[in-house]
């Protein structure tokens, strides 16, 4: 009977363990933030932004896209990361948790220590969102935020 119990345990516990592993691992999101300068009077596109340029072309009136900064921020639940966007602007990201297979990420932009923008994104695994508008150099600043669930 002991052998049978052991057999049953191994046969059920092993697959259960395999299935629960992703759930355990989904406590972290690797967030990639790209700071981009979008320009109307230039058609120069950084090679790694060609896909983004094709996506945004029909929606926004910008032709030139220049990658200024790229950062990878590992976010744990409740964890907060900060990124300097320009001399006066900074971005904070907080992973609030997971909900229906999406990561709830709170994103804030501060200008000279004053919060000017806040949003809460429900980010899918490998999903992304674009935030744009603030003036930067001769164009505007675009932020492409991409999240990959770790595990």
């Amino acid at each position: 009977m002991k052998q049978l119990a052991l057999l049953l345990f191994v046969m059920t516990a092993f697959p259960l363990l395999i299935n629960t592993c992703p759930a355990i691992a989904d406590s972290m999101v690797m967030v990639d933030v790209e700071v981009i300068n979008a320009l109307q009077n230039s058609s120069e596109i950084d090679p790694e932004l060609s896909g983004l340029a094709r996506e945004l072309g029909p929606v926004l009136n910008y032709k030139g896209f220049k990658l200024l900064k790229k950062s990878r921020l590992p976010l744990k639940i409740g964890g907060r990361k900060e990124l300097l966007l320009s001399r006066e602007r900074r971005l904070t990201l907080t992973l609030e948790g997971f909900e229906s297979g999406q990561a709830r990420i709170n994103l804030k932009i501060f200008k000279n220590h004053t919060e000017i923008f806040a949003t809460t994104l429900l980010m899918a695994d490998n999903g992304s969102a674009i935030i744009g508008g603030p003036e930067l150099k001769k164009g505007v600043m675009l932020l492409r935020v991409r999240g990959k669930f770790d595990g």
Partner: protein
């Protein structure tokens, strides 16, 4: 053959192996000197003995000790495993729970193998904007045409002054 010859014939083998006492040995030797028949028997016996000795002096090509080291554990182990399995399988009421366990195991294996595949084949759900707030109060939420990525457009000036 005399009764002495018969007695000596019994002792020839012991004499050959040098197992007789001194007196017996002298008696056998004295008889062999005088009796051609017993001398002939002794010669035959010695010839056979020499032949056997010559065969035995050849060293065996197999290392029996080493071979036995491999064989012995096998002999000891096999019947034990067989005994254990037989006792396990023929136990009364073994097959019903075993069948149930196999069914549960097969189901668990099915889910373990198929669920990850199902998960990976699931279409990627889209990201959504849950809430937005801006100090200027002017924010637009758009979506890209192809992949429906959300675009949040912050208007630092009033919408009339600047549009994306």
């Amino acid at each position: 053959m005399t009764s002495i010859c018969e007695d000596i014939a019994y002792k020839l083998s012991a004499y050959l192996d040098n197992e007789l006492g001194e007196a017996e040995k002298n008696r056998v030797e004295a008889h062999l000197e005088n009796c051609p028949s017993c001398r002939g028997s002794f010669r035959e016996l010695k010839k056979s003995s020499d032949l056997v000795s010559a065969r035995l002096s050849v060293q065996p090509s197999v290392d029996f000790d080493k071979a036995w080291q491999h064989i012995e554990p096998e002999i000891r182990r096999r019947p034990a495993i067989r005994r254990y399995l037989r006792a396990f399988i023929v136990k009364p009421g073994f097959w019903i729970p075993a069948s149930a366990a196999a069914t549960v195991g097969a189901a668990a294996l099915f889910f373990a193998l198929c669920l990850p595949v199902y998960k990976s084949q699931r279409p990627v759900s889209l990201s959504h904007v849950e809430s937005v707030s801006s100090k200027s109060g002017s924010v637009m939420v758009l979506h890209t045409a192809k992949t429906s990525q959300p675009i949040i457009w912050i208007m630092e000036k009033s919408p009339k002054e600047k549009r994306p």
